[in-house]
Amino acid sequence: MRLPRHRHRLAADAGLLVVAVAFAVPLVWLVLASLDTEATLRVRLPTSPTLHNFSAVLTDEITFTPMLNSLLICGGATLLTVVCAALAAYPLSRFRSRLTRPYLLTVLFSTCLPVTAVMVPVYGLFVQVDLIDTRYGTALFLAAAQLPFAIWLMKNFMDGVPKVLEEAAWTDGASWPQTLLRVILPLMGPGVAVVAIYTFIMMWGNFFVPFMLLLSPEQLPASVSIFTFFGNYGAIAFGELAAFSILYSTPVVVLYILISGRLGGGFALGGAVKG
């Protein structure tokens, strides 16, 4: 019995390693090219590895302004999403009504709609109401687009908080905002963190929304500025582009690692898969 099992494991290891290498090649290019001032399009070891590419892109124009814009847009939008989602999840999780189920199904339905398709009318609408080329307008739309999923996640986390404690708070005369703020949210702290971080990650990587809604270069977040950097320079400095890609990707990778334990295997889209 032992031998076949052992062989099974070897076969599985070999299969996985092949996939791992295939997935790793582009990532290896990214790391090596960022250390290579003469980087080309193919994977190669830098002749003399330096951090020069990083210091070259660490300027206001290339890195700091776009990253700050990303932070303002995504941070603001995340805050708005989390606050709205927490508020909305409260009655959905706590009270039964004929309203609850249709509302939740509508939310789930809109989670699935391709947001990409809405961007043309959103652009038209933003031109008419003068929200075009504003960071807060972009943040408002990002918040709305991410909201259905955030409500859904938040509601599922809130369902996990026992009702007994808040009922006690009610008897003590607490109003619902107090109950939500002082009793429920502290008890589901990790859940709120997951919603916030997940929302932030999704927004940080979003390209199409700011690409459509923002025009002036000084307002662009990193997702769009990296694209113009990539698309408009005649001779592309691949090493610098790789270095900037790493700087731009690091926050989301780190944040993902922070929540991966809770999102991990059982993630399955939090609650989107579980009714």
Partner: protein, 307 residues
């Protein structure tokens, strides 16, 4: 704590205390829904409604006033437009290749292999696949661009193996972007299937093994039927995700060369903004939304069966 419970119980016993549903209480109770609902109405439902409106006009980017109602002309134009039909076909190819076949099968295979593999290999593979998923879309597109480019890594590797190199982004652009989408999106399927496989009771697999069922038979007769709901869910979400991919394709090929990797979102962008035909572009967007809505309804049905 005990007193808190007792008090709560006492309160619950008071007649009508919890279920008092005067209109004011009701309003107060549901008021926390207001901010989210307003935001959704203004920025999601509003644009979709606007989309429906504009799709029936000949609005152009320049001169908004001149727009007039044209009925179904945009849709008729779309179905008669070879470029639109090309985009539909390419979207189908892209979705089937990358999502139905690629992400789904590879994700299932990875999840299955991981259950047998040794811990370090499992961790390494998981880390690589998930990193590709977590990276921002543009970075992923850029990395895959360097991989498939004529002077890129893929051709360098083929050269080493004495195989003919190709200008992949030129000869097979839709295949290249499909591979890119597999690279980027497989992690999701892998996570869903890992969770699903972990949910299969050990005894079932073991008794099948004792009965002498081989690997393939076990997969077909036991594993797949037991995780069929996860398969449905995963296919649905993958398809919806793939249907709206824009950045990845835009960075790698911009829909080109010509329009040979122009999927519907790219076609929509091209018509609405590069050709300034907002009305026509919106009609395409509406069709895309309808397809998405159709899939979403099926998805909700699947979920409802499960509950």
């Amino acid at each position: 704590m005990t007193s808190a419970v007792a008090r709560a119980a006492a309160r619950a016993r008071r007649p009508g205390a919890r279920h008092a549903g005067g209109p004011r209480t009701l309003l107060l109770r549901w008021s926390p829904l207001v901010p989210a609902t307003v935001l959704l109405l203004l920025f999601l439902v509003g644009p979709i409604g606007y989309c429906v409106l504009i799709a029936f006009t000949d609005t152009q980017l320049t001169g908004q006033e001149s727009a007039s109602f044209v009925g179904l002309a945009n849709f008729r134009h779309a179905f008669g437009d070879p470029a639109f039909r090309n985009a539909v076909v390419l979207t189908l190819v892209f979705t089937v290749l990358s999502s139905l076949v690629g992400q789904n099968t590879l994700g299932l295979a990875l999840a299955g292999l991981m259950r047998r593999a040794s811990r370090p290999v499992r961790a390494l593979t998981g880390a690589m696949v998930i990193t590709a998923w977590v990276l921002p879309e543009i970075v992923a597109g850029f990395l895959l661009y360097t991989f498939f480019e004529r002077r890129g890594t893929l051709n360098a590797l083929l050269d080493q193996l004495h195989l003919p190199a190709q200008n992949w982004l030129f000869t097979l652009p839709i295949v290249a972007v499909s591979f890119a989408n597999v690279w980027r999106g497989t992690a999701f399927s892998m996570l869903i299937y890992s969770a699903a496989l972990a949910g299969i009771p050990q005894e079932v697999t073991e008794s099948a093994e004792v009965d002498g069922a081989g690997g393939l038979r076990r997969l077909w007769h036991i594993t797949l039927p037991m995780i069929r709901r996860s398969i449905g869910t995963n296919l649905m979400l993958n398809t919806l995700q793939t249907l709206s991919v824009f950045g990845l394709i835009w960075v790698m090929t911009r829909g080109g060369p010509g329009n040979r990797s122009q999927t519907l979102p790219v076609f929509m962008y091209d018509q609405a903004f590069l050709k300034s035909l907002i009305g026509y572009g919106t009609a395409v967007a509406l069709l895309l939304l309808l397809v998405g809505a159709l899939f979403s309804v099926v998805y909700l049905r699947l979920l409802r069966e499960e509950v």
